[in-house]
Amino acid sequence: MTGLVTSTARRRSYSVLAVVLALLWAFPVYWMINSSLLPYNRIRGAEPTFWPLDGGFDAYGRAFDSGFFAALRVSAMVTAVTIGVALLFAFFAALAVSRFRFRGRTSFIITVLVVQMIPVEGLFISQYKMLEGWQLLNSVAGLSLLYIATVVPFTIWLLRGFIAGVPFELEEAALVDGCTRIQAFFRVTLPLLAPGLAASGVFGFVQAWNEFALALVVMSRPENRTLPLWLRTFTEANRADDWAGIMAGSVLIAVPVLIFFLFVQRRMASGLVTGAVKG
């Protein structure tokens, strides 16, 4: 667009600026990886070491030996339960919202959108009291319940766009060809929705894997820590002397998310701003 009227020299200097900004923005991520590979004497030198040329993976061993796997187990369970349940429930609801017209449909959508915005700190006190009463503090079930409720609204919104994007006529055509309604859905619609379900699954994964505030409130016992809580404790314990270990811990938590995120970022951005596909 405006590019049409940008002169070549200008475009070149803007491009240089963009690359500089890119380096600046990526620097913290690079620094995390770089620091995690450096030995003690390097990381605490008078001058920072910018390339991990004589680096190694010792710091990762120290992170592994400090309870990383116990936290990984808890995080994996919470994440799996959250994704499974939230995806199923949200899928049903999204189907209802995008395939049927019914009384209360618009108010349901609006409620979903508003609920999605409720900040953790607006409810976590009473959610804590509730789980305490139900004997669900320090349990995977308790934390997962809260996570499912935070993930479901946006997932409905995201899936609604995808389902609306599959033409209803396709299903009708299958009906005409002799499929039952259920068959038509499973053989025609569901395969077309696979990318949407994958994107929603990744969204749930990122939420459950990264969440800190609710985990802090619900999981107070050390043996029930999720990964973010573990990283916090690990940082506190080693702040004075082992930043390489701390950075290794950060890398371990970040890597799965960075990989998944690259696949679905487009969907997440457009889902928030425009509701994925108009329906």
Binding site: V5, V114, W209, F212, T235
Partner: protein
Amino acid sequence: MLRRARRDAATPTRRSAHLSYVLLVPAVLVLLAAMGYPLARQVVLSLQEYGLAQQFGQPPEWVGLDNFQQLATDAYLWQVIGRSLAFCLAVAGLTMVIGTALAVLMTHISRAARLPLHVALLLAWAMPHLASLTVWQWLFDSQYGVINWLLVRLGFDEFAGHSWLIEPLSFFVVAAVVVTWMSVPFVAFSVYAGLTQVPGELHEAGAIDGASARRRFWLITVPLIKPVLLIVGLLQIIWDLKVFTQIFVLQDAGGITRDTNLIGTYIYRLGIGQGQFGMASAASIFILLVTVLLSLAYVRLLAREEGL
């Protein structure tokens, strides 16, 4: 789509209406259990004296609006609210300006330069908050942090061994840098998506009519991407009001909590920390109301764009 809507509206069979309600049941139940019930409970709690004594079995006492009155007359709470709003508006404003500037920049650069910028922003966006916060603490480390090292090299010797997180103002500077760093990518990508929808012909026409690039930006581009800017800006305000994790984790490093609490960490320390559940619930209701009002504005904007 329109045709389908009309057709469906014309034949609303009773069976499909029933089916749609059945499909909604699981989602609605889980939202009621994990959000609806606590919300009702929170309203009740906010009207009760519920402190440590109640935590150990004494029945809670109804006190009407006492908790709210006590909060409203607490100078410290007002200080926290003022601080939260100032932080939120400053960071949201900063994020919008930088994000929009980056988006505009993206439209002026070659494809080869756009790729690294996109990847860098994606990395910052995708980083788990805890990992980002941990890295930034290391970057701002008083003794071995790169930022102090760089500042000293640039000639600001007073930054040798400078502790950023033990003084409120510089604590919030660090917090603002971190939050802006993680929020800018979403703004930049959203605005960039909006900018690519602006037809090039409009700019050509403007150029032929003799409008400068700056005037074309303000008179052609900005009005066309205004809906995106509004939605994204509102989301930033909503999100920057809830920066519990960022502040809480940085407080670990600094050790000063009283002078750096924002509304979220204040509620946490009042409720979970001191066991004052009644008071903390009352304070939570305040932040809930503010966010719900802002969210309704967001939904209205979205509805106008979407035609819900």
